[in-house]
């Protein structure tokens, strides 16, 4: 159906030239889901643009993009208009941004049906309702009259899918459809694409940076690197035994909930100005030799693999896990326990803290944290996990003294950083010094650096408050730069000149430079490319291991936390639902929510979820105010009247604690749930 042959795209603009794609060849057949995988700059979006005939200005394209019998690159405007919508439809990465904010989603869908399918108004409305039902939107009639801003992220992505499938396109393209969605939703959305391929025989091209998460629903995957296809083949095989060193690097960079260690690959993707003469991965490859740097490997089929081909002189044949040090996770998880028992004074103490964001209008408010109690000793690393809206970022701000608790107390190294009931707070210079005892590493590495100040200035900021002389500051800054393995020349640069990985190293350097007692990492890698993520995780693991410092690592991704946390806390709607030593919580989760999270997390080797043991939560609720009873009551499959009426406190179950009274009965209940459907 879709066949891309030797597609090359070079973008020429005055002053710069980029070889976005160099000889890309692959095909998508009806009823097939093909995953297009790679990091940013790999050329994924350019492929999508070429397929819909939307190459950016200044593009020079050669090769063919055959759709049926016609070449999209050489279509005239009328043919393109028919091709888009009926031939191909796209689901964008940011579904809420792709929907018009001022018209109801029903109208947008009906419009599209009327234009492309020549339907009358009533028929289109009926069809729209059916489409909504097909993608699993409950009460579709009511949703048709909603506006884009009234939808949750997952709901908006479903609406996008129904918009895209509405005109019965032959090919559906999804550009990073689950980025920014919670793990429990990601699988659900991906299944919608599988469904579109299976029931309607459409071809689906699924674009993603994360091979492991999409592999489950894909028939085949195509891996792009620097605008070239390095490997393509059956999803399960590529996932289990990737043959190209880059595919292997990509998979190993992603932490896994099973506790498999992350292996970082140094370097970054090159930005090519013309089609490469050698293997584009040569500078980062452990197997590279002289041939690799002088010639570009051709695409060869792998013997024995069905439609499995690769562009490499040194194909790897062993399974991915074979050449790794055997699994058993970090040994320090054990010896961290005595540290917690030490009578050393706590670095961070949070006592029954509540945070309510008052609404500017009216009397309502958003209850972001509901009674969180935490204690952290020096040298300890605490992982905090939860989905969006669970209060993770509020917790970070609370610790840093950027928001004040509505009730309860927070102290860092014994001092209060914000006004709170019944505690004196230092003022002026003393407060500024106290603040530097805790440092934050931000999610958005570039945005956390002041755009018009040099890197050197930003790193030295905490030292100003300490009142160090310029010479002393410079000494400390260069020392911390060395630890981050950054060159000194970077000090004179501005944030927009940095790559994401460099910027995050700078952010960590700034946090470290004042030698704080506590560092909070707030989703430090979620804005980074996969292989860069692994490099930064290495750096963070090193920093978190410092014995005299405590760390808090906040993430939506369970797997990253497992890498180096001693203890883990699971948050749901502002409450701690489970807490305990990291391995205990991951290996024997107690709370239904923790079980659901772990079950949805992608695992390598194709065995997604904890086989049959996974708890399936009810999806897409309008957030109910969980003031009384268990916060999970509305989504939990094991809910009883007692859950709805009685507030759940953390209770000890073995080494960990969970806020659920049904924990002892759960294994039996889950067994029954697995049988019934």
């Amino acid at each position: 159906m879709l066949s891309i042959e030797n597609l090359s795209v070079t973008i020429r603009r005055p002053g710069r030239q980029v070889a976005a794609l160099s000889g890309v060849t692959f095909a998508v057949r009806p009823g097939e889901v093909v995953g297009l995988v790679g990091e940013s700059g790999g050329g994924k979006s350019m492929v999508a643009r070429a397929i819909v005939g939307l190459l950016p200005g200044g593009s020079h394209a050669t090769g063919r993009v055959l759709f049926g019998d016609s070449d999209v690159l050489r279509m005239d405007d009328a043919a393109l208009a028919a091709h888009r919508g009926r031939g191909v439809a796209i689901c964008f990465q940011n579904p809420r941004g792709a929907l018009s904010p001022t018209r109801t989603i029903g109208k947008q869908l009906v419009d599209r049906l009327a234009t492309h399918q020549d339907m009358s108004g009533d028929r289109a409305r009926e069809a729209a309702r059916e489409l909504f039902e097909a993608v699993g939107i409950r009460s579709p009639q009511r949703r048709l009259d909603a506006y884009a801003h009234e939808l949750s992220g997952g709901m908006a992505q479903r609406v996008m899918i129904s918009l895209a499938t509405g005109c019965a396109p032959d090919l559906l393209i999804a550009d990073e459809p689950t980025t920014g969605l919670d793990v429990t939703l990601t699988r659900e959305i991906l299944r919608q694409f599988r469904h579109a391929a299976d029931t309607d025989g459409r071809g689906v091209l699924l674009i993603s940076h994360d091979l492991a998460s999409i592999a489950e629903v894909c028939d085949r995957v195509v891996v792009l690197y620097a605008g070239t296809v390095v490997e393509s083949g059956p999803a399960a095989q590529v996932l289990r035994e990737p043959a190209h060193p880059y595919t292997r690097a990509l998979l190993r960079s992603v932490p896994d909930v099973g506790g498999r260690p992350v292996v970082a690959t140094p370097g970054a993707m090159p930005l090519l100005t013309e089609a490469p003469e050698n293997c584009p991965f040569v500078a980062r490859c452990a197997h590279a030799d002289r041939t690799c740097s002088s010639r570009r490997p051709g695409t060869q089929p792998i013997p024995g693999g069905r439609e499995w081909s690769l562009a490499c002189f040194h194909p790897q044949t062993r399974p991915l896990d074979a050449d790794l040090p055997s699994t058993s996770h970090t040994p320090d998880a054990g010896d961290a326990q005595p540290a917690a028992a030490d009578p050393k004074p706590a670095v961070l103490e949070i006592e029954d803290a509540h945070v309510v964001y008052r609404s500017r209008f009216g009397s309502g408010g958003h209850h972001a944290l509901r009674g969180v109690t935490l204690r952290l000793a020096p040298g300890e690393t605490l992982g905090v996990v939860g989905e969006s809206g669970c209060g993770k970022s509020t917790l970070a701000k609370l610790v840093m003294g950027l928001v004040a608790p509505t009730s309860g107390t927070v102290t860092v190294a014994g001092q209060a950083l914000v006004k709170q009931p019944g505690r004196p707070r230092p003022r002026g210079r003393a407060l500024r010094r106290a603040r530097t005892r805790a440092q934050l590493v931000f999610q958005d590495p570039i945005g956390s650096l002041s755009p018009r100040r040099t890197v050197g200035d930003s790193i030295a900021e905490p030292l100003r408050a300490a009142g160090l002389s310029p010479a002393q500051r410079e000494e400390r800054v260069t020392a911390v730069l060395d630890r981050m393995e950054l060159d000194r020349s970077i000090l004179q640069r501005y944030p927009h000149e940095l790559s994401g990985g460099q910027a995050q190293r700078i952010g960590i350097a700034r946090a470290l430079v004042g030698e704080p007692d506590l560092i909070v990492f707030d989703e430090p890698t979620s804005a980074l490319d996969v292989t860069v993520q692994a490099q930064i995780l290495d750096v963070i693991a090193d920093v978190a291991a410092d014995a005299d410092r405590a760390s808090v690592f906040i993430s939506h991704d369970l797997a990253t936390v497992r890498g180096f946390a001693d203890r883990v806390v699971v948050l749901y709607l502002g409450r701690v639902v489970e807490e305990g030593p990291v391995d205990v919580v991951f290996d024997t989760p107690r709370h239904p929510y923790t079980r659901a999270l772990l079950g949805s997390a992608p695992r390598l080797g194709g065995t997604a979820g904890a086989d049959g043991e996974a708890v399936e939560l009810v999806k897409d609720l309008e957030e109910a105010d969980a003031a009384t009873g268990c916060p999970l009551a509305a989504r939990c499959p094991f809910v009883t009247d007692r859950c709805r009426s009685e507030q759940q406190e953390l209770q000890s179950y073995g080494e960990s604690r969970a806020a659920c009274w049904r924990v002892p009965e759960l294994p039996a209940l889950i067994g029954r749930q697995a049988v019934t459907p």
């Binding site: 020079h60 050669t62 950027l402 500024r432 805790a438 440092q439 945005g447 755009p451 905490p462």
Partner: protein, 295 residues
């Protein structure tokens, strides 16, 4: 011909398909900036070297030749007082340009400071400052300028204050809006948690980052300032005769234009037009470029 076409189509996959466009807007913006900057440089040079370029003095009177037509001793003729129009148009560039630039500079400084403080601290301070700004902005600009000018009286300094007072509220609002959105960005939290004092956050982090829109608006604003100045002078509230100022010259010559002596008012009018055009082109160009960058 047929053979040629066959040859081309046979290798069609290798013939590059070129997508046009990409940077037409930014090229146009650059041209606007260049033309605007050139005009303004010429005006600035004229202002500096006015004594060398003018045959007559700024207020020098040729009593024998009042209201003579262009030509001869007087390149652009003389006005009713016998003063040389050409010389006065050149000299007027000093006052017009000087007052406009000084007034906008003052407006930027005052407006930015107010906007920074209001935007960062918020609360009652913000409320009070913004209500004052509201009061200023609720009057039509020129009416307000008239009122302030009438209140302060004539004089160069008073004119600068008048025009600055009329324009400062817009900067206050602009910077306040910018600061309020910047304040939510992580780098401000980073500065606070790094122990920066409120003054440090304002001065070292928010100020440099909030000036981008100011840089774009200020040149446009200089053009408006010049028009306000000329308007005030035209109505007798600005620069007083015999000092050379374009608005005052237009006003002085207005009566004579009716009698067919166009040269009294048209040259200063044209000078004003060219100068304002220069500022507008520069300002619009900068604005387009800033927008293109944002995209």
């Amino acid at each position: 011909m047929a053979e040629l076409r066959a040859a081309v189509s046979g290798d069609s996959a290798q013939t590059p398909v070129v997508v046009a466009g990409g940077d037409r807007d930014s090229r146009f913006a650059r041209r606007m900036i260049i033309v605007g900057a050139t005009i303004l440089s010429v005006v600035a040079l004229v202002a500096v070297f006015a004594p060398l370029l003018s045959p007559w003095g700024e207020t020098e009177i040729d009593p024998a030749n009042t209201l003579v037509a262009p030509g001869g001793n007087h390149l652009l003729g003389t006005d009713g007082n016998g003063m040389d129009i050409w010389s006065r148009v050149l000299y007027a560039a000093r006052l017009d340009l000087g007052i406009a630039l000084a007034a906008v500079a003052l407006a930027v400084v005052v407006g930015t400071l107010l906007g920074l403080v209001a935007g960062y601290f918020g609360g009652w301070l913000d409320d009070v400052l913004m209500r004052v700004v509201d009061i200023f902005q609720s009057f039509p600009t020129f009416i307000l300028a008239l009122a302030v000018a009438a209140l302060l009286g004539n004089g160069t300094i008073n004119l600068i204050i008048t025009i600055a007072a009329v324009n400062a509220p817009a900067y206050a609002r602009l910077v306040r809006a910018e600061v309020r959105s910047l304040r939510e960005l992580p780098f401000v939290d980073a500065a606070i948690t790094s122990g920066a004092s409120p003054v440090g956050v304002l001065w070292r982090h928010l100020l440099p980052n909030s000036l981008t829109p100011v840089r774009v608006i200020a040149p446009l604003n200089c053009g408006w300032a010049m028009l306000t100045l000329a308007g005030l002078s035209f109505l007798g509230l600005g620069v007083s005769i015999p000092e050379a100022e374009w608005g005052a010259m237009i006003s002085l010559g207005a009566a004579d234009v009716v009698g067919g002596r166009w040269w009294t008012s048209v040259p200063p009018g044209l000078a004003l037009f060219v100068c304002v055009l220069g500022f507008s082109l520069l300002g619009e160009g900068l604005q387009d470029r800033a927008n293109a960058k944002r995209r």
